[in-house]
């Protein structure tokens, strides 16, 4: 039996358990995402695709820190919400172009990430996670009370990105954003920085001893993921048209983290896929918020108790049994 001490050691083999299917299946998945909405004529289904991709992309961004530097962001929603509100406020108050607004939102979220990280990154990962959570709570309350600026709970109306009400342009904008984020994350992971992540993931002390500065690399990953969250938030603002403070609530963060975990940590594509399986049925439950949240709660508990490696773990296992991919490595936690 692992002692709590051993369990709580924030040493992870995260980068060892990257569930790497290789480029072909993931590429096919992206091709599917790119083509499917064109073939689907149903407006509602297209809407589901946008929502699924939006949540999937968020879960994927969250996985960048959870799966690679073993750092979970309990305040994810704040960075997403900050991106959304930044562009929303800039566009409505100063008439800035939405495209610039979205970039500004991304920068703001990155800056908040820098601030949060600078406060806590030297401490244990737990502090970063909880500090980020407080940032979210503080931002949420602030948007709620600064009614003159944000309109508080009344909701801030944000102009749309495109003139036409057609949903496809939105979908493809989001698709491109997601693809760019995925590629950037992959590039980072496969670069020298990624090597440092790997070292940190394996053994922080060893990494430090061999000249890697864990704090610096963790910061890089954390800030990047915060900025990505802000970027997606900015898109969301112009897609949905109205922003309310619950956007930054713990509930939103938990939905993202849940998808991250259900999809499987450290795979990037797993969370993306999970969103497409989980979100559409949930959209039907939108009016029954309690039921939706009860199911989310139960799903989370079930995944944590039964199979913490998530869907990606299952798929990988199946693939392994079918000998689909040689040479890929996976040391799932269920083997220990």
């Amino acid at each position: 039996m692992a002692t709590a001490e051993e369990r709580s050691k924030e040493k992870s083999l995260a980068s060892d358990r990257i569930i790497n299917l290789g480029y072909l299946p993931v590429g096919l998945f992206f091709v599917f995402l790119g083509v499917a909405p064109l073939l689907i004529k149903d407006e509602y289904l297209r809407h589901l695709f946008v929502v699924g991709l939006l949540f999937g992309a968020q879960a994927m961004v969250s996985d960048f820190t959870v799966g690679f530097i073993n750092l979970s962001n309990f305040g994810f929603a704040a960075f997403f919400g900050l991106g959304a509100y930044t562009t929303g406020l800039l566009v409505t108050n100063f008439g800035v172009s939405p495209f610039i607004g979205v970039i500004a939102g991304m920068l703001m979220a990155g800056l908040l990430g820098l601030f949060t990280g600078a406060l806590t990154m030297r401490l244990r990962g737990l502090y970063v996670a909880i500090m980020a959570w407080f940032m979210a709570l503080a931002l949420q309350s602030l948007t709620l009370v600064l009614v003159d600026v944000t309109r508080g709970a009344w909701g801030l109306f944000v102009p749309p990105l495109f003139e036409s009400t057609d949903i496809l342009p939105y979908y493809y904008t989001l698709f491109v954003i997601t693809l760019v984020i995925y590629i950037v994350i992959k590039l980072v992971i496969n670069s020298r920085v990624g090597l440092a992540f790997k070292a940190i993931g394996m053994d922080v002390d060893f990494a430090r001893a061999s000249g890697v500065n864990p704090t610096r690399y963790k910061m890089i990953a954390f800030i990047l993921s915060c900025a990505f969250a802000g970027w997606l938030g900015g898109f969301y603002a112009h897609f949905i048209g109205i922003l309310t403070p619950d956007l930054m609530g713990t509930q939103h963060t938990v939905e993202v983290l849940a998808l991250n975990v259900i999809g499987g940590r450290g795979s990037l594509w797993g969370p993306l896929l999970a969103a497409f399986l989980v979100i559409p049925p949930f959209e039907y439950l939108k009016s029954l918020m309690e039921v939706r949240l009860i199911i989310y709660g139960l799903l989370l508990v079930l995944v944590m108790v039964i199979y913490p490696a998530g869907m990606a773990g299952v798929i990988w296992k199946v693939g392994e049994l079918l000998k689909l991919h040689k040479g890929a490595t996976y040391f799932g936690m269920e083997d220990r």
Binding site: E6, S8, A129, F134, A138, M304, M333
Partner: protein
């Protein structure tokens, strides 16, 4: 500001401080003994409030018995959660333990509060008083219920400390929090200690919920804010510090009450968080903070 106003603000602050101190203790107990990031504190508080409400109104029990019912019920719920999902997860996952406990308890919390919502609807279920009347000292007065609630908070905090310091079981809990292998080799069943600790922590929340029923009525989402504040207090005091958490609980309770008086709805949150951020900028590990393990000895 009149003296009476000052007194009112203080009285409200103290009672809320008692609540936060209890919740912070609850959190520190499971964090220190089991390394669990618990997010269900608020829901146990909620359950405690409902149990007392039903015991008091439906079954007409006397106040003390109603609160005792909440204590027993929340202990059992806590023990059940530990024996069920938590220990199942412990057997399985070795990595990412903190994130896993966070997600599991968040999942449970969502489940519990929304099940309560479905079951009991968002209506407030409160009582006018456990004990009617106020105690007045000169021109200022405080309701008996507030006084009792504060007294119960103080009592549970002190009783918990005494229990941990001076009893066989209490020592065993501390032993497990400091060295699990050492504890096991001395005949302590770690799993039992986990269950008891978790149950005890949950009981703290239940007592808080029950004893404050006439001040804060039962409702499904009532636990969310206290849970946030409990974490804030624990971060403010430093993750490893118990007496700090108690002091911090009262400080935050009073800050909240004062902020509400001067700025109104919503601002207490903002101000408390800003205070926390400032403290963390100056001293990242919290005002009194050190390590997490061995929480009980500082």
């Amino acid at each position: 500001m009149e003296l009476v106003d000052v007194w009112n603000v203080l009285a409200v602050g103290l009672v809320r401080g008692g609540l936060y101190a209890q919740m912070a203790l609850m959190l520190a107990l499971v964090l220190g003994v089991m390394s669990i990031i618990s997010m269900i504190n608020g829901e146990l508080y909620m359950i405690g409030a409902y149990v007392s409400y039903f015991a008091f109104t439906l079954f007409g029990l006397n106040p003390i018995l109603s609160i005792a019912c909440a204590a027993v019920a929340t202990f059992l719920v806590g023990a059940l959660i530990e024996r069920g999902p938590l220990s199942m997860m412990r057997r399985r996952a070795g990595e990412d333990w903190y994130l896993n406990t966070f997600l599991l308890t968040v999942g449970l919390s969502f489940f519990l509060k929304n099940a309560a919502m479905l079951l009991w609807k968002p209506t407030y279920r409160g009582i006018r008083w456990y004990w009617e009347g106020t105690v007045s000292i000169g021109s200022i007065g405080i309701s008996i219920d507030r006084l009792v609630a504060l007294g119960i908070a103080a009592l549970t905090i002190v009783a918990l400390q005494l229990f941990l310091r001076n009893t066989r079981l209490g020592r065993a809990i501390r032993a497990v929090s400091q060295d699990e292998r050492g504890a096991m080799l001395n005949g302590i069943n770690i799993n039992t200690i986990y269950t008891i600790s978790f149950g005890l922590a949950c009981m703290l929340g239940g007592i808080a919920g029950g004893s404050m029923l006439s001040i804060l009525p039962a409702s499904p989402y009532m636990g969310t804010t206290p849970n946030n504040y409990a974490w804030l207090v624990v971060m403010l005091a430093g993750l490893g510090n118990i007496s700090g958490a108690v002091v911090g609980g009262f400080i935050i309770g009073i800050v909240e009450s004062v902020a509400f008086q001067f700025f109104g709805e919503g601002w207490p949150n903002v101000i408390s968080f800003i205070i926390l951020i400032i403290v963390l900028v100056i001293k990242p590990s919290g005002i009194f903070g050190t390590s997490v393990k061995g929480v009980w000895e500082q």
